[in-house]
């Protein structure tokens, strides 16, 4: 497709042509209408003038006969102007007047008539248009009173010429303007297409050009750029996940392989073999757990799952899960307190929410004990609180541990992120990511705050089905929040 046909195919150009045709038709109609009306009006005025003159002459005829008419006509013919007169006998012989050489049609006609006559002009004879009234006098005499209307023909010619020129200019400007506008639009669209193609080719950092004029194309580009930013973010997330998988799944796999290899290298010893195999199974189980957690998060983040939502009492669920962990807390010397008075009815998936609460409590129990030696003076205590206000249910889990530094709060929600201080504890680093994913699936948000000292985790969930939690974005120092985007 050549550049020109491409241009002609643009909507803008076609629109320009359509408008051009419409405007031309309207202009022609308007001018024609004006011309027509003008002509009609002029003819009527002319007719009236000629009629009046004829009436006057008829009176003269009655008063003074043919001679009187001949005299008056001869007199009037002398006056310069566009009046035409002729008095002739039945043979067509001119008795008076400034009209000579009358055509037979004119001679035989009666009443108003348009005709062409000749008159001497500088450098020859010119033929001009005239309008006259032919009046028959007794005895075969003819009285013709008329006016030269060549000016009118001139006017029609002028209008025609003007119209043609006007239309020509209009067409030129219209097509030219259409071409210019289309060309400009086409250039911008081509720019957009080119950028899109580079982005499709894999350069996700590319952004569509924004001219700054704030027109519809700019708005489109801005929306698409936002979309691209989101895609880039998701792709970065995906890349990060694959990197994480590479690290956090391959490392234990490698460890597992090394162990088996080492056992095979050693001379046969049943006890050692058995121990190796048992540890291999343990390691495999750990891998399966990590893998399951990753799959769950991926599914939740893709918006799948949660088909089993039902009305449930969040307060009861909080007590229930706290009850599950209570012996563990006791064993670790941590006081686990659950507080949720009235039933908090929300629409959610019991298993997913149960797991989220379990993960939060599990985290608090694992990392929330005051570090021995650091002695921040607080008794080890984990509190789980469920509240409901203004359509938002909140589960707040607080501990008195070392907490999470403000700058790290966003990061710990990411997959596999474990703070250096917690590396010694068993865990996959997926717990909080899963809670965040569950929160998002339910239209809620997860936020980490400072419990001064300790960590305070707030899981906010909308109580109404299909609603979103509208938490005010806290100051960076107060906490970090992950919300659905």
């Amino acid at each position: 497709m050549t550049a020109l046909t491409k241009l002609f195919r643009t909507t803008t150009f076609r629109l320009s042509l359509t408008y051009l045709a419409l405007f031309s038709a309207a202009a022609v109609l308007a001018i024609f209408y004006i011309y027509w009306n003008t002509t009609v009006l002029l003819s009527r005025q002319l007719n009236q003038t000629i009629d009046a003159e004829l009436t006057g002459l008829a009176e003269q005829y009655r008063a003074g006969g043919l001679d009187q008419i001949v005299r008056i006509v001869a007199e009037r013919s002398q006056t310069p102007g566009n009046s035409l007169y002729l008095v002739a006998d039945k043979d067509g012989k001119q008795l008076a007047g400034n009209l000579s050489a009358v055509s037979p049609q004119l001679w035989d006609s009666l009443g108003p008539v348009e005709f062409v006559y000749s008159r001497p002009a500088p450098g020859g004879i010119e033929r001009r248009l005239a309008f006259a009234n032919v009046f028959r006098l007794p005895g075969g005499y003819r009285l013709i009173v008329g006016r030269d209307i060549e000016d009118r023909r001139e006017l029609a010619r002028l209008i025609r010429t003007t119209m043609l020129w006007g239309l020509g200019v209009m067409a030129l400007v219209g097509i030219g303007g259409g071409y210019w506008v289309s060309r400009r639009l086409l250039t911008r669209i081509d720019d957009l297409s080119a950028t899109t193609r580079t982005i499709m080719a894999g350069d996700l950092t590319g952004r569509l050009p924004v001219s700054g004029s704030g027109d519809e194309l700019d708005r489109l580009s801005q929306s698409l750029n936002l979309m691209l930013a989101r895609i880039e973010q998701l792709m970065a997330g995906l890349r990060e996940v694959s990197d994480n998988i590479a690290h956090d799944l391959k490392t234990p796999l490698n460890r597992l392989r090394n162990r088996v290899e080492e056992a095979l290298r050693e001379p046969y010893d049943e006890a050692a073999y058995r121990e190796t195999l048992e540890r291999t199974i343990e390691e495999a189980d750990g891998l399966i757990k990590t893998f399951n957690a990753l799959l769950s998060i991926a599914r939740l983040e893709a918006g799948a799952g949660g088909d089993n939502r039902e009305k449930l009492d969040l307060a009861a669920l909080v007590h229930d899960v706290a009850d599950l962990y209570e012996p563990v807390a006791e064993e670790r010397g941590i006081a686990l307190k659950a507080e949720a008075a009235a039933p908090i009815v929300i629409h959610g998936d019991r298993q997913l929410l149960g797991q989220a609460i379990a993960n939060l409590i599990d985290n608090a129990l694992k990392y929330g004990a005051p570090r021995s030696g650091s002695g921040n003076g607080w008794a080890p205590e984990v509190q789980v609180l469920a509240t409901a206000e203004e359509g938002t249910a909140r589960i707040v889990v607080t501990d008195r541990g070392p907490g999470v530094p403000a700058l790290e709060r966003d990061r710990v929600l990411d997959r596999f992120v474990r703070l250096e201080a917690s590396r010694s504890e068993p865990g996959s680093g997926l717990g909080l990511s899963l809670v965040a994913a569950v929160a998002r699936l339910h239209g809620g948000a997860l936020r980490l705050e400072d419990n001064e000292p300790g960590l305070r985790v707030v899981l906010a969930l909308p109580m109404e089905e299909g609603a979103l939690v509208n938490e005010a974005v806290p100051q960076p120092s107060a906490g970090a929040e992950l919300r659905p985007t």
């Binding site: 199974i281 799948a304 089993n308 997913l352």
Partner: protein, 226 residues
């Protein structure tokens, strides 16, 4: 116990047959849904192990067809799909239990033994007795050697489940699913702590321990003195 394994992967099927035989069970194998359905209709099995994805007729279809024919043989569904939704679908189709691949054989064994047990009349009984430990389901009272033992409601349900499956191995996941109704991994081994609490109440002051840990599998309650 007579078990029918409907599984298309030959190696898995061979492994299951071997392992079930070693555990003292008789296992038969069908490699596709069609054959599995015919076998399950023709013979009386104690339990079916059905892979979810099968050639010819898929696992859920096999179970549905059996249930439509009013054949109530307990069925355990094996599946690589492990989400709660899939589980619910499996149970809705008439499956009795659902196990996600990859699984430990001990888990599978404990589950099918529990399933086969369902058919026994004890299911409906109101009193469970193991040795000198008695649990009354109606009055919610537990006594050991005539001595009343005070249990929290959750501890009672835990003991109830263990005693219902007395002599069988019960895994941690089974306990979490049946006593707490949680189908997720609680990360920390919370069940162990609950068990040790229960143990301190029912076994601590008595000479003959009844609640045993089965290494690599789970727990069992039985009177080992007999």
């Amino acid at each position: 116990m007579r078990v029918l394994v409907i599984e298309d992967d030959q190696e898995t099927a061979a492994f299951l047959k071997r392992a079930l035989k070693e555990s003292g069970h008789v296992a038969e194998h069908a490699a596709d849904g069609q054959t599995g359905l015919e076998l399950a209709k023709a013979n009386a099995y104690d339990v079916l192990i059905v892979d979810r994805m099968l050639p010819k007729c898929d696992g859920l279809g096999v179970i549905k067809a059996l249930r439509d024919d009013e054949i109530g043989t307990p069925a355990l569904i094996l599946s690589a799909l492990g989400e709660v939704d899939d589980r619910v679908k499996g149970l809705r189709a008439g499956g009795d239990d659902y196990l996600t691949k990859p699984y430990a054989f001990s888990e599978l064994l404990a589950r099918i033994e529990a399933l086969a047990r369902r058919k026994l009349p004890e299911e409906g009984s109101t009193r469970f007795v193991v040795g000198d430990l008695v649990l009354d389901r109606l009055s919610h009272k537990v006594t050991r050697a005539g001595e009343a033992i005070l249990l929290q409601p959750r501890e009672f349900r835990l003991l109830e489940y263990l005693m219902k499956h007395a002599g069988q191995v019960v895994t941690r996941t089974m306990l979490l699913e049946n006593v707490w109704d949680y189908h997720f991994d609680p990360q920390t081994n919370v069940i162990d702590v609950h068990i040790s609490r229960l143990r301190s109440k029912i076994d601590k002051n008595f000479g003959n321990p009844l609640l045993h840990t089965v290494r690599g599998a789970g727990y069992t309650i039985r009177d080992s003195a007999h």
